[in-house]
């Protein structure tokens, strides 16, 4: 990495400030808010998959868990500050326990994928079946497949009547995404981040060098879950309802598709992929000629076949070949472990 940390932060801040200022002129803030939230969700998987080599099929589980935690806590507390914190902490703890079980058991690639997939399914099936009145946490009814509506949405900390919604809510989400992005940047530049890259490239070697691979993977997994949980809580505030569909396999699939299309092993790629594809889906939803799912699927197949590195790395290498910059070459070897198991 040639740029220093402060340069990186400066560029991020300038570009994101410009985008936050310009984008609402093009797209309504209501749509933009959800694009930003999906961007954060994409980033959470991009972090653990692209930089840690952990292919998680159940990122939606943490997203949904964050949303449900927020909704249940908000109904019980009636104020949004503590629920927001809980929505980050609960998925992180859940992921730490799950991750410890998997990584200390030395499970890898396919088995990891299956277990995360299965855990998502368990949550989905369980929450779906909680329609009866006996499933209550505090004052909140879980509501089964109907979900939980009518909880306290985001308010100014300390004042439950000062709701944040509409345009201001978009700015809150956008700033949250920028902060998370900067934290991820910092994390990857720290020694922890470098070790995560080392583990992605060659787990055995890192283990032989004396690093505790399982512990580091568990922590990284938990950080990814915390980000997904935050995205889930923001999504709950945006939609003002949480339903079991947040846990569904389709949701998990979409997160993976965003990462692949945007570009694995980059911080920006998953965000671009998420926002871009979600917007495309939104546009496609307005016509009824061709089925939406069909196009999503086609995009995924074509990307895997023809552009397996994703959009952002491809554009970056195109730009650097045009302008002759001598930036680091994105070699295929870097992603070997993450992509070939």
């Amino acid at each position: 990495m040639k740029r220093t940390m402060s340069q990186d932060v400066l560029i991020t801040l300038v570009v994101s400030a410009l985008l936050i200022w310009l984008m609402p002129l093009l797209i309504s803030t209501y749509t933009l808010t959800v694009l930003v939230i999906y961007g954060m969700l994409g980033l959470s998987l991009g972090l653990i998959w692209g930089f840690g080599g952990i292919l998680c099929f159940g990122q939606a589980a943490f997203f949904g868990l964050g949303a449900y935690t927020y909704a249940i806590a908000a109904i019980n507390i009636g104020e949004s500050t503590v629920p927001m914190i809980l929505a980050v902490v609960v998925p992180a703890i859940f992921a730490a326990l799950l991750g410890a079980m998997m990584f200390y058991g030395r499970l890898t690639d396919v088995y990891l994928g299956v277990i995360t997939l299965v855990v998502t399914l368990i949550l989905f099936k369980f929450v779906n079946s909680t329609a009866g009145p006996q499933y209550v946490i505090g004052k909140a009814r879980l509501g089964g497949f109907n979900g939980i509506p009518g909880f306290q949405t985001l308010n100014v900390p300390g004042d439950p009547n000062a709701y944040i919604w509409g345009d201001p809510y978009f700015y809150v989400c956008a700033v949250a995404l920028v902060i998370v992005y900067l934290l991820v940047t910092w994390l990857l530049r720290s020694s922890f981040g470098r070790m995560a890259l080392g583990i992605r490239e060659n787990e055995v070697r890192m283990g032989l060098m004396g690093y505790d691979v399982a512990a580091r993977k568990t922590v990284l997994f938990a950080i990814g879950a915390a980000i997904a949980g935050l995205a889930g809580a923001l999504f709950a505030n945006w939609g003002e309802i949480v339903t079991p569909n947040l846990f569904s396999l389709g949701q998990s699939a979409e997160i993976i598709i965003w990462c692949i299309v945007g570009g694995l092993g980059t911080r920006l790629g998953p965000i671009v992929g998420a926002a871009g594809l979600a917007y495309l889906k939104f546009m496609l939803g307005q016509q009824s000629m061709i089925d939406n799912t069909l196009i999503t699927g086609l995009i995924l197949v074509l990307f895997v076949l023809f552009l397996p590195r994703g959009l952002v790395p491809a554009i970056a290498s195109l730009l650097s070949s045009i302008f002759g910059h001598t930036r680091r070459k994105p070699s295929n070897r870097r992603m070997r472990r993450a992509r070939h198991g």
Partner: protein, 288 residues
Amino acid sequence: MDLSFVILVEMLYAVASLVLISAGLAVVFGMMKVINLAHGEFMMMGGYATITAVGLGVNVFVAMLVIAPIVVGLIGLIVERLVIRHLYGRLVDTMLATWGLSLVFIGLATMIFGNTTTGISTPIPGFAVGDYQINGYNFFIIIVTILLVIAMYAVLRGTRAGLIARGTMQRSDMAAALGYSPDRIYMMTFFCGSALSGLAGAVLAPLVGLVPTSGGAYIAKAFITVIAGGPSLIAGLVSSATSFGLVNQIFTFAISPVIGEVALLIAAVVLLRAMPSGITGRFFKGKM
């Protein structure tokens, strides 16, 4: 007495349907190491092929046992030539590409058949055992499954084609040196795997209301069963389907169907954590 007979049949049926759901994936994943996430959609298409054929006036058993496997097998063949062929040996990429394919198939089915539930009635009437009513079709599924497992074993073990296929999956360079084209053998194996998925989807079609997204209900179960089974194809399939089927039915009878499903999934997590290379990675080593 009657109740225990009913429970026995239900248990056998649960195991048989798991074997049936997983058989196609076992060939494609267990032998070829291609994680086919479109497996559920292959089954869905098998169901639609049956319903369409029955609607055109074909005998229901011919539609299920002959037409559906051939149709789905041919679709699998096209998919293999267009997409999978380029991705052998790239585990994660095949997974993503087939996930994309599954979405494509769901989209196509929605466009062709519409987003409504279709179905056919079960061709075999139920009958009473004492005070209980048993679905006669369950017996048909159990018998089809037993015949299928025997046939798979016979083909893989006893025929020259099975020998060549197994050899190619183990060392494709050696098979090529002996004059067999690995490309064509992979193609044929994928055809067989897809045909098995189509057969499973067709046989199960009368029991479920078919919608374009019904493949999703199968894929996780199939995936879990095959992976928990481990490296041996048939022994793994039967042993893991038996364990999961029993767990599922015990909890279904004891508590509720939802808890039964959840118990199955938890059993899978525990099993994979305890035996990361599957049941046949530890027991029945080196069997078929």
